[in-house]
Symmetry: C2
Subunit: 242 residues, 2 copies
Amino acid sequence: MGIKCRNCPIRQLPLFDPMSSTEIEFMEKFKVGEMNMEPGVPILAEGANTPQLYTALSGMGLRYKLLEDGRRHVISLVLPGDFIGLQAGVLNQMTHSVEATTAMTLCVFDRSELWSLYRNQPARAFDLTWLAANEERFLGEALAALGQREAYELLAWALARIWRKLNALDMTSGTVAPLPYRQQDLADAMGLSLVHTNKTLAKLRNSDLAFWSDGELTVPDIEALEEVGLCRDESLRKRPLI
Amino acid sequence: MGIKCRNCPIRQLPLFDPMSSTEIEFMEKFKVGEMNMEPGVPILAEGANTPQLYTALSGMGLRYKLLEDGRRHVISLVLPGDFIGLQAGVLNQMTHSVEATTAMTLCVFDRSELWSLYRNQPARAFDLTWLAANEERFLGEALAALGQREAYELLAWALARIWRKLNALDMTSGTVAPLPYRQQDLADAMGLSLVHTNKTLAKLRNSDLAFWSDGELTVPDIEALEEVGLCRDESLRKRPLI
DNA sequence: CGACTCATTGATTACCTTCAAATATTGTGG
DNA sequence: CCACAATATTTGAAGGTAATCAATGAGTCG
């Protein structure tokens, strides 16, 4: 059934809170298996109510919403350590879809045990609320970014945020990090057209701020990029891992 | 100290979940008082970490974020029944500011009791996560709206959502409801300029879809408005009240 | 090698912003 | 009580940012 929680490679990262042995024990009972997803495969669909919850172990994905007329809005990226399905677990219904962009490995949890978590593991319950509140925080920032920034600033903001997160996940080497998405994905996340996204990325390139091609993002100077993106110095705080 | 939870007028609304007598008992201990805010007064500031949490009892407010250069983005409205300070309670830091637009009455809770809630009231802890996840849901929808809709659709979407919520709170009478904000507030929420917001509101008026002036919103036909706003039929589900 | 997907570039159009000014409406002090 | 300041709404005009339309280039795969 794959990796035991006690050996979880992700939890070793300094980004994540340490876990007590009692908690690890509980998590190993909570975890019912692992799942491997092919690239492009849907993980959860908007409106669905699944019996399982997930944590991304490896690979990258997307959260998105579809409008009736086919327009798509990408809500956020899914990176290793991200919890998937909180809304299904709590609201009984996903309000966005999730799909794998690259091949992904997911930890699978049994949703029916969620109640036991709230009854017997108050600290873990608190962590779940933390994750939900943190997602709320991120979406609030994204909303302000989309609303107030113009394309050039906005893309700088997005790439800087992504860079910081990849860095915290120890996925950067020097000035390079993997970013295996299409320009269309980023365009759908920013509410910009593909054409304009492409042209704005070219500007960032010409300004030596960010180079993104062939699934690799190169950022020579993250602080310069953050300055253009009007990023606050939001240091990534330690966070719980489910 | 104002209203006792058992007599809470808000919880009577069909929008909210019923509460067991044990829960009411706990909430009455959790609640430490009430607070009256003057119009325009800040309730919580971004970055702050307060010892108190709130629930809006009456009046209306705004959640917003400020960019360094002074631009403001309005995240959402604060209406009766809304919980204020979840982020401070869980993340130890507000990631947006909250201020009263009209005079407001707030229930005040003692944040240091939050742990006791997680230890002793798992159902209430679950409700808190529910609220956080629900906020995440709303912000995801707002993000998709800002990203994918043009101004005319967007304002229709926003006014329709607001109308539905006011209606669920029993604040509508016929086709009229109070909406005591400025056009600038709505503009800052939609990421549009004041001028364009004004002109687009005029179009909605000319289409007989929505009339908003002097703090009053009139919607002759909510379903027509929702159609323009591309609103899903998201019926407002029952929700917990803290 | 042809079909397909994705990235890139140019030209045109349109939505939205900015600038500017006029018109209420309200509160204040002489 | 009226003049004046301050706030909010409304309207017109001009300019810029971003969308759409269209076509080409580059890489992958069966």
